[in-house]
């Protein structure tokens, strides 16, 4: 029984390492999705001259349909903001956006800086003229590109590190407990 327990605990540590590695990959996918969403919003606002609810609805539907799990969250965020803007039309967009950002699932693999970039995007969207919208979205795109580039650069190394740490911890536990 003791060895079964040791095996299970070691297995959990190894799995934890693999999950941490997978979480990094998941963050990359989510960031890439937010980058695509920002491009879509830019097109909607600058090309179609869409209002924010229209642009959010269009981009949200595009990025939530046919997706599941965390991949659905970015699109769902936009749709939730759109719905609330319709219901609470007198409230500033930035407030609604901030509240909905805070409601994103805790386990969504986003770093603090990713959430801050999203928050900054929402604080400026809708303000002033079309040029301002373009600059705001371009700034967000630049920040996201940087995050994606950094993450890609260190992804392989950090993935290996997480997996190795998990395995090492599992083996260490096995040795100590046995």
């Amino acid at each position: 029984m003791k060895y079964v327990g040791i095996l299970l605990m070691s297995g959990a540590l190894i799995a934890g390492g693999f999950l941490a590695a997978e979480r990094l990959r998941e963050r990359l996918r989510i960031l890439q999705q937010f980058r695509q969403i920002a491009l879509c919003l830019k097109g909607q606002i600058l090309y179609s001259n869409a209002t924010l609810p229209e642009a959010l609805g269009e981009a949200g539907a595009r990025f939530s349909e046919g997706r599941s799990g965390t991949a659905r969250e970015p699109g769902e965020l936009l749709l939730r903001v759109r719905d609330r803007l319709k219901q609470e039309s007198g409230r500033p967009f930035s407030e609604v956006w901030e509240e909905e950002l805070a409601r994103l699932p805790e386990d969504l693999p986003l770093e603090k800086q990713d959430r801050q970039a999203l928050s900054a995007l929402g604080s400026q969207l809708g303000y002033a003229d079309r040029a301002m919208q373009e600059r705001t979205i371009l700034l967000y795109l630049e920040q996201t590109e940087d995050s994606i580039r950094d993450l890609k650069g260190e992804l392989d190394g950090r993935t290996k590190l997480c997996r190795c740490m998990g395995m090492a911890a599992g083996l260490f536990l096995m040795v100590v407990m046995a």
């Binding site: 606002i45 001259n49 869409a50 209002t51 924010l52 803007l85 039309s89 007198g90 409230r91 919208q133």
Partner: protein, 306 residues
């Protein structure tokens, strides 16, 4: 005061909602409602500090702008430059504040908005019943018609009902394809491509398109028998009108003028009258109530008989 408070007050205190044509909101001043020529101050019985009237403030104006622009003032840049924006339902929100000019002296935008005038669009089916008989010729075709009146006398409302009746057909003529160039989204009040007002079953709407370009496009693409446009008044409009008429299409349009004589005194319109581009002129008045028909004239300015 917040926008929600104003909404509640309007629901509670507005005497006859259907008759209200304008809601005027000025910072630091009572909210007033204009209906059929008379003006009433919006009461706020729960308000102690400012007496018994609902007084607007800067916050209320900012909130209303957020609502009417759907948090997207950038999407209404061009409209704001003209001093108003048209919202869902075809209602027009006039804006007054501090003008911001660009380097070449052109108006860039309006900031520090201090007054709003919300003009409520009304769809009054049947309001054209009294004049439509004058607008058909002996061959049962629609005559090119210009509707004249000062602002707020019901030109667009009449135009909308004329389009509906001409499109669906009426007892003076069969239904024909009608093209509407709705530059300010006031005639059809399109929302996401669908007209919110009934313009008839044979009507095609080019929404939010500059009038002249829209007229050329409609003639080329939709082959209408009648084309409708609101508020003509520039040299470019005149050029487009000639093009439309040369294509054998009839026009129903509106223009700001008090009377046929007033029209003749203006260089642009005088040229149009001289050329006899329109064979009918419908003159409207605000008194005793908006939409009152003063007269229907022929191309020579004389009253016509049905």
């Amino acid at each position: 005061m917040q926008a929600d408070d104003l909404k509640k007050l309007l629901e509670q205190e507005a005497p006859d909602w259907e008759r209200i044509r304008e809601i005027r909101i000025r910072a630091g001043r009572p909210v007033t409602l204009v209906s059929d020529g008379c003006e009433t101050v919006l009461a706020d019985r729960g308000q102690k500090r400012t007496g018994d009237t609902a007084v607007a403030d800067g916050r209320l104006i900012r909130e209303i702008l957020e609502i009417v622009s759907k948090h997207s003032l950038y999407a209404f840049e061009d409209e704001i430059r003209q001093g108003f924006l048209t919202i869902e339902g075809g209602h027009r929100v006039g804006i007054c504040g501090k003008a911001v000019l660009s380097g070449d002296g052109a108006l860039r935008t309006i900031k520090d908005v201090s007054s709003l005038n919300i003009r409520l669009a009304r769809e009054r089916k049947g309001c054209a019943d009294g004049v439509i008989r004058y607008l058909y010729g002996a061959d049962k075709t629609v005559c090119s018609t210009l509707i004249l009146s000062p602002p707020g006398a019901g030109k667009t409302t009449l135009l909308r009902d004329l389009v509906r009746q001409i499109s669906d057909g009426n007892r003076f003529g069969d239904g024909v394809p009608v093209a509407v160039v709705d530059e300010r989204s006031e005639i059809a009040a399109c929302f996401q491509g669908t007209p919110q007002c009934d313009l008839g079953s044979r009507t095609d709407v080019m929404d939010a398109c500059p009038k002249t370009e829209g007229m050329y496009m409609m003639i080329r693409s939709m082959s209408p028998r009648v084309l409708a446009a609101d508020e003509i008044g520039t040299a470019e409009d005149l050029k487009a009108l000639r093009f439309v008429m040369n294509c054998g299409c009839r026009i129903i349009a509106t223009a700001h003028a008090d009377s046929f004589g007033d029209l003749e005194r203006r260089p642009f319109f005088a040229e149009m009258v001289k050329e006899k581009l329109f064979s009918r002129y419908v003159v409207l008045s605000k008194f005793p109530r908006p939409g009152t028909t003063v007269c229907v004239c022929g191309a020579d300015g004389k009253a016509v008989q049905p």
